[in-house]
Protein backbone atom coordinates (compact mmCIF):
# COMPACT_ATOMS: atom_id res chain seq x y z
CA UNK A 1 0.00 0.00 0.00
CA UNK A 2 1.38 3.41 -0.96
CA UNK A 3 1.95 6.04 1.70
CA UNK A 4 1.73 9.77 1.30
CA UNK A 5 4.88 11.34 2.67
CA UNK A 6 6.43 14.79 2.83
CA UNK A 7 10.07 15.17 1.90
CA UNK A 8 11.85 18.45 2.54
CA UNK A 9 14.53 18.43 -0.11
CA UNK A 10 16.88 21.38 -0.56
CA UNK A 11 14.45 23.62 1.34
CA UNK A 12 11.52 22.66 -0.83
CA UNK A 13 8.61 20.51 0.32
CA UNK A 14 7.40 17.66 -1.82
CA UNK A 15 4.36 15.53 -1.13
CA UNK A 16 4.68 12.13 -2.76
CA UNK A 17 2.85 8.82 -2.72
CA UNK A 18 5.43 6.05 -2.39
CA UNK A 19 5.37 2.30 -1.99
CA UNK A 20 7.21 1.37 1.25
CA UNK A 21 9.75 -0.71 -0.62
CA UNK A 22 11.23 2.26 -2.50
CA UNK A 23 14.52 3.68 -1.31
CA UNK A 24 15.25 7.36 -0.87
CA UNK A 25 17.69 7.11 -3.81
CA UNK A 26 14.91 5.85 -6.06
CA UNK A 27 12.37 8.46 -4.99
CA UNK A 28 14.85 11.35 -5.32
CA UNK A 29 15.95 10.27 -8.78
CA UNK A 30 12.75 8.91 -10.25
CA UNK A 31 9.91 10.80 -8.57
CA UNK A 32 11.48 14.15 -7.74
CA UNK A 33 13.65 14.28 -10.84
CA UNK A 34 16.83 14.94 -8.86
CA UNK A 35 19.31 12.61 -10.59
CA UNK A 36 22.39 14.22 -8.99
CA UNK A 37 22.23 11.52 -6.32
CA UNK A 38 23.91 8.52 -7.94
CA UNK A 39 23.26 4.86 -7.46
CA UNK A 40 26.43 2.76 -7.56
CA UNK A 41 26.44 -0.43 -5.53
CA UNK A 42 22.98 0.05 -3.94
CA UNK A 43 24.35 -1.82 -0.88
CA UNK A 44 25.97 0.84 1.31
CA UNK A 45 29.52 0.23 0.10
CA UNK A 46 30.34 3.07 -2.29
CA UNK A 47 28.73 6.30 -1.06
CA UNK A 48 27.66 7.48 -4.55
CA UNK A 49 24.12 7.85 -3.15
CA UNK A 50 25.15 10.10 -0.23
CA UNK A 51 22.62 12.72 0.86
CA UNK A 52 22.51 14.78 4.03
CA UNK A 53 19.55 13.71 6.18
CA UNK A 54 18.90 16.01 9.14
CA UNK A 55 22.54 17.20 9.26
CA UNK A 56 24.11 13.76 8.82
CA UNK A 57 25.46 12.30 5.59
CA UNK A 58 23.94 8.86 4.91
CA UNK A 59 23.75 6.23 2.16
CA UNK A 60 20.33 7.00 0.65
CA UNK A 61 20.25 3.52 -0.94
CA UNK A 62 19.85 2.12 2.59
CA UNK A 63 17.10 4.52 3.65
CA UNK A 64 13.47 3.79 2.88
CA UNK A 65 11.76 6.87 1.49
CA UNK A 66 9.05 6.39 4.16
CA UNK A 67 11.75 6.66 6.84
CA UNK A 68 12.62 10.14 5.55
CA UNK A 69 9.06 11.45 6.02
CA UNK A 70 9.10 15.03 7.33
CA UNK A 71 12.89 15.17 7.45
CA UNK A 72 15.31 17.65 5.92
CA UNK A 73 17.31 16.33 3.00
CA UNK A 74 20.14 18.01 1.10
CA UNK A 75 21.15 16.55 -2.25
CA UNK A 76 23.92 17.78 -4.53
CA UNK A 77 21.32 19.90 -6.38
CA UNK A 78 20.94 21.99 -3.22
CA UNK A 79 24.60 22.78 -2.69
CA UNK A 80 25.31 25.53 -5.24
CA UNK A 81 23.82 28.99 -4.81
CA UNK A 82 22.06 29.46 -8.15
CA UNK A 83 24.78 29.72 -10.82
CA UNK A 84 27.51 30.15 -8.18
CA UNK A 85 29.26 26.96 -7.18
CA UNK A 86 29.73 26.20 -3.49
CA UNK A 87 33.36 26.74 -2.40
CA UNK A 88 33.77 22.95 -2.12
CA UNK A 89 32.52 22.43 -5.67
CA UNK A 90 34.73 25.28 -6.90
CA UNK A 91 37.76 23.72 -5.19
CA UNK A 92 36.97 20.31 -6.74
CA UNK A 93 36.99 21.92 -10.20
CA UNK A 94 40.17 23.89 -9.56
CA UNK A 95 42.11 20.97 -8.09
CA UNK A 96 41.12 18.44 -10.75
CA UNK A 97 39.29 16.40 -8.12
CA UNK A 98 36.61 15.41 -10.63
CA UNK A 99 37.33 12.82 -13.29
CA UNK A 100 34.34 10.72 -14.33
CA UNK A 101 32.31 12.55 -11.68
CA UNK A 102 30.29 9.59 -10.44
CA UNK A 103 31.57 9.83 -6.87
CA UNK A 104 31.59 13.64 -6.82
CA UNK A 105 28.10 14.40 -5.47
CA UNK A 106 28.71 12.05 -2.54
CA UNK A 107 32.22 13.36 -1.94
CA UNK A 108 31.01 16.96 -1.92
CA UNK A 109 28.18 16.20 0.51
CA UNK A 110 30.41 14.25 2.90
CA UNK A 111 32.94 17.10 2.74
CA UNK A 112 30.20 19.67 3.34
CA UNK A 113 29.03 17.85 6.46
CA UNK A 114 32.59 17.69 7.71
CA UNK A 115 33.31 21.38 7.14
CA UNK A 116 30.09 22.41 8.84
CA UNK A 117 31.28 20.71 12.03
CA UNK A 118 35.00 21.20 11.70
CA UNK A 119 36.19 24.31 9.88
CA UNK A 120 39.86 23.41 9.89
CA UNK A 121 40.21 19.64 9.50
CA UNK A 122 43.54 17.86 9.28
CA UNK A 123 44.31 15.64 6.31
CA UNK A 124 43.56 12.65 8.51
CA UNK A 125 40.18 14.03 9.49
CA UNK A 126 39.33 14.68 5.84
CA UNK A 127 40.31 11.14 4.81
CA UNK A 128 38.32 9.72 7.71
CA UNK A 129 35.22 11.79 6.86
CA UNK A 130 35.39 10.66 3.22
CA UNK A 131 36.12 7.02 4.02
CA UNK A 132 32.58 5.91 3.12
CA UNK A 133 32.89 7.40 -0.36
CA UNK A 134 34.81 5.40 -2.94
CA UNK A 135 36.46 6.91 -6.02
CA UNK A 136 37.70 4.70 -8.84
CA UNK A 137 39.41 7.50 -10.77
CA UNK A 138 41.32 10.11 -8.82
CA UNK A 139 43.33 8.20 -6.26
CA UNK A 140 41.80 10.53 -3.63
CA UNK A 141 44.80 12.87 -3.32
CA UNK A 142 43.24 15.68 -5.34
CA UNK A 143 39.94 15.27 -3.53
CA UNK A 144 41.66 15.64 -0.17
CA UNK A 145 43.55 18.69 -1.43
CA UNK A 146 40.33 20.24 -2.74
CA UNK A 147 38.59 19.80 0.62
CA UNK A 148 41.58 21.27 2.45
CA UNK A 149 41.64 24.25 0.12
CA UNK A 150 37.85 24.75 0.42
CA UNK A 151 38.19 24.79 4.19
CA UNK A 152 40.67 27.67 3.88
CA UNK A 153 38.41 29.61 1.49
CA UNK A 154 35.37 29.08 3.69
CA UNK A 155 37.17 30.33 6.78
CA UNK A 156 37.74 33.71 5.14
Amino acid sequence: MKKIITLKVNNKEYEVAVAPNRTLTQVLREDLNLPGTKCGCDMGDCGACTVILDDRPVNSCLVLAVQAHNREITTIEGVADGPNLHPIQQAFVEHGAVQCGFCTPGMVLSAKSLLEKNMDPTEHEIREALSGNLCRCTGYQKIVEAVKSASQTMKK
Binding site: P20, T23, D42, L62, N133
Partner: protein, 293 residues
Protein backbone atom coordinates in the same frame (compact mmCIF):
# COMPACT_ATOMS: atom_id res chain seq x y z
CA UNK B 1 19.50 -1.12 -8.97
CA UNK B 2 18.37 -3.89 -6.67
CA UNK B 3 14.64 -3.75 -6.01
CA UNK B 4 13.37 -4.45 -2.54
CA UNK B 5 10.62 -7.06 -2.25
CA UNK B 6 7.20 -5.69 -1.35
CA UNK B 7 6.17 -5.19 2.27
CA UNK B 8 3.92 -3.06 4.43
CA UNK B 9 5.51 -0.50 6.72
CA UNK B 10 4.39 0.35 10.25
CA UNK B 11 5.65 3.07 12.53
CA UNK B 12 3.85 2.71 15.90
CA UNK B 13 4.34 5.43 18.49
CA UNK B 14 4.53 3.30 21.63
CA UNK B 15 6.34 0.10 22.57
CA UNK B 16 3.03 -1.51 23.55
CA UNK B 17 1.66 -0.78 20.10
CA UNK B 18 4.88 -2.08 18.49
CA UNK B 19 4.53 -5.36 20.41
CA UNK B 20 0.94 -5.66 19.27
CA UNK B 21 1.71 -4.95 15.63
CA UNK B 22 4.61 -7.39 15.62
CA UNK B 23 2.51 -10.10 17.32
CA UNK B 24 -0.22 -9.65 14.72
CA UNK B 25 2.23 -10.16 11.88
CA UNK B 26 2.96 -13.61 13.36
CA UNK B 27 6.41 -14.50 12.05
CA UNK B 28 6.04 -12.50 8.84
CA UNK B 29 7.10 -9.19 10.36
CA UNK B 30 10.51 -7.79 11.21
CA UNK B 31 11.83 -4.72 12.94
CA UNK B 32 13.72 -2.25 10.80
CA UNK B 33 16.12 0.10 12.61
CA UNK B 34 18.88 1.67 10.50
CA UNK B 35 18.22 -0.87 7.76
CA UNK B 36 21.93 -1.35 7.00
CA UNK B 37 21.69 -5.10 7.49
CA UNK B 38 18.10 -5.92 6.75
CA UNK B 39 17.86 -3.86 3.56
CA UNK B 40 21.05 -5.41 2.21
CA UNK B 41 19.69 -8.89 2.95
CA UNK B 42 16.35 -8.02 1.37
CA UNK B 43 18.04 -6.61 -1.73
CA UNK B 44 20.09 -9.78 -2.03
CA UNK B 45 16.88 -11.79 -1.84
CA UNK B 46 17.87 -13.54 1.40
CA UNK B 47 14.88 -12.15 3.30
CA UNK B 48 11.42 -10.99 2.33
CA UNK B 49 9.39 -10.06 5.39
CA UNK B 50 5.77 -9.10 4.63
CA UNK B 51 5.84 -6.32 7.21
CA UNK B 52 8.53 -3.99 8.50
CA UNK B 53 8.03 -2.26 11.83
CA UNK B 54 10.08 0.83 12.71
CA UNK B 55 10.54 1.88 16.32
CA UNK B 56 11.82 5.33 15.35
CA UNK B 57 8.75 7.25 16.56
CA UNK B 58 8.72 5.71 20.05
CA UNK B 59 9.99 8.15 22.68
CA UNK B 60 13.30 7.18 24.29
CA UNK B 61 14.38 4.48 21.82
CA UNK B 62 17.36 6.51 20.64
CA UNK B 63 18.65 7.84 23.93
CA UNK B 64 21.38 7.10 26.46
CA UNK B 65 20.22 7.52 30.04
CA UNK B 66 22.42 7.44 33.10
CA UNK B 67 20.94 5.30 35.91
CA UNK B 68 22.38 4.48 39.32
CA UNK B 69 25.47 2.40 38.66
CA UNK B 70 25.35 2.50 34.89
CA UNK B 71 23.57 3.54 31.71
CA UNK B 72 20.61 2.38 29.67
CA UNK B 73 21.01 2.60 25.91
CA UNK B 74 17.99 2.64 23.60
CA UNK B 75 18.12 0.08 20.77
CA UNK B 76 17.69 2.69 18.03
CA UNK B 77 20.68 4.79 19.08
CA UNK B 78 22.89 5.27 16.04
CA UNK B 79 26.48 4.07 16.21
CA UNK B 80 27.82 7.61 15.54
CA UNK B 81 26.39 8.78 18.87
CA UNK B 82 28.36 6.15 20.77
CA UNK B 83 31.40 8.10 19.59
CA UNK B 84 30.02 11.64 19.91
CA UNK B 85 28.46 11.57 23.38
CA UNK B 86 30.78 12.88 26.08
CA UNK B 87 29.60 10.33 28.61
CA UNK B 88 30.45 7.49 26.23
CA UNK B 89 33.88 8.85 25.33
CA UNK B 90 34.78 9.48 28.96
CA UNK B 91 33.36 6.54 30.84
CA UNK B 92 32.55 3.87 28.25
CA UNK B 93 35.31 4.57 25.75
CA UNK B 94 35.68 0.86 24.97
CA UNK B 95 32.32 1.00 23.20
CA UNK B 96 33.23 4.30 21.50
CA UNK B 97 36.44 2.77 20.19
CA UNK B 98 34.62 -0.21 18.68
CA UNK B 99 31.92 2.08 17.28
CA UNK B 100 34.54 4.23 15.57
CA UNK B 101 35.75 1.33 13.42
CA UNK B 102 32.30 0.09 12.37
CA UNK B 103 31.62 0.49 8.66
CA UNK B 104 32.04 4.07 7.45
CA UNK B 105 30.91 7.47 8.70
CA UNK B 106 27.86 7.14 6.43
CA UNK B 107 26.97 3.70 7.81
CA UNK B 108 27.52 4.86 11.40
CA UNK B 109 24.95 7.63 10.86
CA UNK B 110 22.27 4.98 10.21
CA UNK B 111 23.39 1.71 11.83
CA UNK B 112 22.01 1.21 15.35
CA UNK B 113 23.35 -0.59 18.38
CA UNK B 114 20.20 -2.74 18.56
CA UNK B 115 20.54 -3.78 14.93
CA UNK B 116 24.19 -4.65 15.45
CA UNK B 117 23.29 -6.93 18.35
CA UNK B 118 20.22 -8.66 16.90
CA UNK B 119 21.88 -9.22 13.54
CA UNK B 120 24.39 -11.44 15.36
CA UNK B 121 27.15 -11.47 12.77
CA UNK B 122 30.11 -13.39 14.18
CA UNK B 123 32.33 -10.40 13.35
CA UNK B 124 30.00 -7.61 14.51
CA UNK B 125 31.90 -4.80 16.25
CA UNK B 126 29.71 -3.92 19.23
CA UNK B 127 29.04 -7.30 20.92
CA UNK B 128 32.68 -7.90 21.96
CA UNK B 129 33.06 -4.64 23.95
CA UNK B 130 29.54 -4.99 25.33
CA UNK B 131 30.31 -8.53 26.52
CA UNK B 132 33.58 -7.36 28.02
CA UNK B 133 31.58 -4.74 29.93
CA UNK B 134 29.07 -7.34 31.10
CA UNK B 135 26.14 -5.74 29.26
CA UNK B 136 22.59 -7.06 29.58
CA UNK B 137 19.74 -6.84 27.10
CA UNK B 138 16.06 -6.39 27.86
CA UNK B 139 13.62 -8.07 25.50
CA UNK B 140 9.90 -7.39 25.33
CA UNK B 141 6.97 -9.42 24.05
CA UNK B 142 3.27 -8.77 24.63
CA UNK B 143 4.25 -5.97 27.00
CA UNK B 144 6.32 -8.31 29.22
CA UNK B 145 10.05 -7.82 29.69
CA UNK B 146 12.84 -10.31 30.32
CA UNK B 147 16.51 -9.55 30.92
CA UNK B 148 19.41 -11.59 29.61
CA UNK B 149 23.18 -11.19 29.92
CA UNK B 150 24.56 -10.55 26.44
CA UNK B 151 26.80 -13.55 27.10
CA UNK B 152 23.72 -15.81 26.86
CA UNK B 153 22.06 -13.99 23.96
CA UNK B 154 23.98 -15.23 20.93
CA UNK B 155 23.47 -18.71 19.52
CA UNK B 156 25.34 -18.71 16.21
CA UNK B 157 25.72 -16.72 12.98
CA UNK B 158 22.52 -14.67 12.66
CA UNK B 159 20.93 -16.62 15.50
CA UNK B 160 20.02 -15.38 18.95
CA UNK B 161 17.65 -16.14 21.80
CA UNK B 162 15.24 -13.43 20.65
CA UNK B 163 11.83 -14.77 19.61
CA UNK B 164 10.39 -13.68 16.26
CA UNK B 165 7.84 -11.38 17.88
CA UNK B 166 10.14 -10.10 20.61
CA UNK B 167 11.71 -6.62 20.61
CA UNK B 168 15.07 -5.59 22.04
CA UNK B 169 14.07 -2.57 24.11
CA UNK B 170 17.12 -1.72 26.24
CA UNK B 171 20.81 -2.40 26.59
CA UNK B 172 22.10 -1.98 30.14
CA UNK B 173 25.77 -1.35 30.86
CA UNK B 174 27.19 -1.05 34.37
CA UNK B 175 29.73 1.61 35.29
CA UNK B 176 33.27 0.22 35.21
CA UNK B 177 34.54 -0.63 38.72
CA UNK B 178 37.61 1.29 39.98
CA UNK B 179 41.01 0.21 38.60
CA UNK B 180 39.49 -1.05 35.35
CA UNK B 181 41.19 -0.85 31.97
CA UNK B 182 40.08 -2.14 28.61
CA UNK B 183 40.78 -2.17 24.90
CA UNK B 184 39.30 -3.24 21.58
CA UNK B 185 41.59 -4.16 18.71
CA UNK B 186 40.20 -4.92 15.26
CA UNK B 187 42.37 -6.32 12.52
CA UNK B 188 41.25 -5.24 9.04
CA UNK B 189 42.61 -5.18 5.50
CA UNK B 190 41.84 -1.46 5.30
CA UNK B 191 40.70 1.20 7.73
CA UNK B 192 37.06 1.65 6.71
CA UNK B 193 34.20 -0.39 5.34
CA UNK B 194 35.70 -3.63 6.48
CA UNK B 195 34.56 -6.34 8.81
CA UNK B 196 37.09 -7.76 11.21
CA UNK B 197 39.49 -10.54 10.24
CA UNK B 198 39.92 -10.95 13.98
CA UNK B 199 38.92 -8.65 16.82
CA UNK B 200 39.62 -8.83 20.53
CA UNK B 201 38.03 -6.95 23.42
CA UNK B 202 39.58 -7.20 26.87
CA UNK B 203 38.78 -5.77 30.25
CA UNK B 204 40.76 -6.20 33.42
CA UNK B 205 39.95 -4.93 36.89
CA UNK B 206 42.60 -4.80 39.63
CA UNK B 207 41.84 -4.92 43.35
CA UNK B 208 44.08 -1.86 43.91
CA UNK B 209 46.27 0.32 41.68
CA UNK B 210 49.25 -2.02 42.11
CA UNK B 211 47.28 -5.09 43.08
CA UNK B 212 46.20 -8.35 41.52
CA UNK B 213 43.67 -8.93 38.76
CA UNK B 214 40.24 -9.29 40.34
CA UNK B 215 38.22 -9.69 37.16
CA UNK B 216 39.26 -10.39 33.57
CA UNK B 217 37.28 -10.72 30.38
CA UNK B 218 38.77 -11.61 27.05
CA UNK B 219 36.31 -11.66 24.16
CA UNK B 220 37.30 -13.00 20.77
CA UNK B 221 35.41 -12.04 17.63
CA UNK B 222 35.32 -13.42 14.07
CA UNK B 223 37.02 -16.63 15.18
CA UNK B 224 33.96 -18.72 16.12
CA UNK B 225 30.25 -18.90 15.26
CA UNK B 226 29.69 -16.01 17.67
CA UNK B 227 31.76 -13.74 19.90
CA UNK B 228 33.22 -15.96 22.64
CA UNK B 229 35.01 -15.69 25.94
CA UNK B 230 38.60 -16.95 25.89
CA UNK B 231 37.83 -18.93 29.01
CA UNK B 232 41.29 -20.35 29.67
CA UNK B 233 42.90 -16.95 29.25
CA UNK B 234 40.44 -15.37 31.67
CA UNK B 235 41.03 -18.14 34.21
CA UNK B 236 44.78 -17.75 34.27
CA UNK B 237 44.61 -13.95 34.60
CA UNK B 238 42.33 -13.80 37.62
CA UNK B 239 44.10 -13.70 40.98
CA UNK B 240 47.51 -12.88 39.49
CA UNK B 241 49.64 -9.77 39.36
CA UNK B 242 49.55 -8.26 35.87
CA UNK B 243 52.93 -8.81 34.21
CA UNK B 244 54.13 -9.03 30.61
CA UNK B 245 54.85 -12.71 31.17
CA UNK B 246 51.34 -13.41 32.42
CA UNK B 247 49.83 -11.52 29.48
CA UNK B 248 51.93 -13.53 27.02
CA UNK B 249 50.72 -16.79 28.56
CA UNK B 250 47.10 -15.64 28.58
CA UNK B 251 47.39 -14.55 24.95
CA UNK B 252 48.82 -17.89 23.93
CA UNK B 253 45.98 -19.68 25.74
CA UNK B 254 43.42 -17.42 24.04
CA UNK B 255 44.59 -18.69 20.67
CA UNK B 256 43.67 -22.22 21.75
CA UNK B 257 40.18 -21.10 22.81
CA UNK B 258 39.03 -20.15 19.31
CA UNK B 259 37.78 -22.20 16.37
CA UNK B 260 38.14 -19.96 13.33
CA UNK B 261 37.30 -20.86 9.77
CA UNK B 262 39.38 -20.16 6.69
CA UNK B 263 37.69 -17.71 4.37
CA UNK B 264 38.44 -14.87 1.99
CA UNK B 265 39.51 -12.59 4.88
CA UNK B 266 42.07 -14.91 6.39
CA UNK B 267 43.15 -18.47 7.06
CA UNK B 268 42.29 -20.27 10.30
CA UNK B 269 45.94 -20.60 11.30
CA UNK B 270 46.61 -16.92 10.64
CA UNK B 271 43.55 -15.97 12.66
CA UNK B 272 44.73 -18.02 15.65
CA UNK B 273 48.13 -16.38 15.49
CA UNK B 274 46.49 -12.98 15.34
CA UNK B 275 44.29 -13.78 18.36
CA UNK B 276 47.48 -14.26 20.35
CA UNK B 277 49.07 -11.01 19.13
CA UNK B 278 45.96 -8.89 19.55
CA UNK B 279 45.11 -10.32 22.98
CA UNK B 280 48.59 -9.54 24.21
CA UNK B 281 48.43 -5.99 22.86
CA UNK B 282 44.95 -5.37 24.24
CA UNK B 283 45.92 -6.62 27.70
CA UNK B 284 48.98 -4.37 27.80
CA UNK B 285 46.91 -1.38 26.66
CA UNK B 286 44.28 -2.12 29.32
CA UNK B 287 46.92 -2.21 32.05
CA UNK B 288 48.49 1.01 30.80
CA UNK B 289 45.09 2.64 31.00
CA UNK B 290 44.73 1.70 34.67
CA UNK B 291 48.24 2.91 35.47
CA UNK B 292 47.77 6.24 33.71
CA UNK B 293 44.52 7.14 35.49
Amino acid sequence: MHLLPKFDFYEPDSMAEACKVLAETKTEGKIIAGGTDIMVNMKKGLLSPKYLVSLAKIPGVSSIEPITGGIVIGPNLIVAKLIEFDLMRKKFNLLSKAASVLGSPLIRNRATIGGNIVTARPAADLPPPLMAMGARVVLMRKGKERELPLDDFFVGPGQTKIKPTEILVKIIVDDPPPFTGWDYVKLMHRNALEIAIVAVAVRITLDSPDGIIKDARVILSAVAAKAIHAVSAEKILIGEKPTAKLFARAASLASTDCTPITDIRGGAEYRCAMVETLTNRALSAALLQIKSK
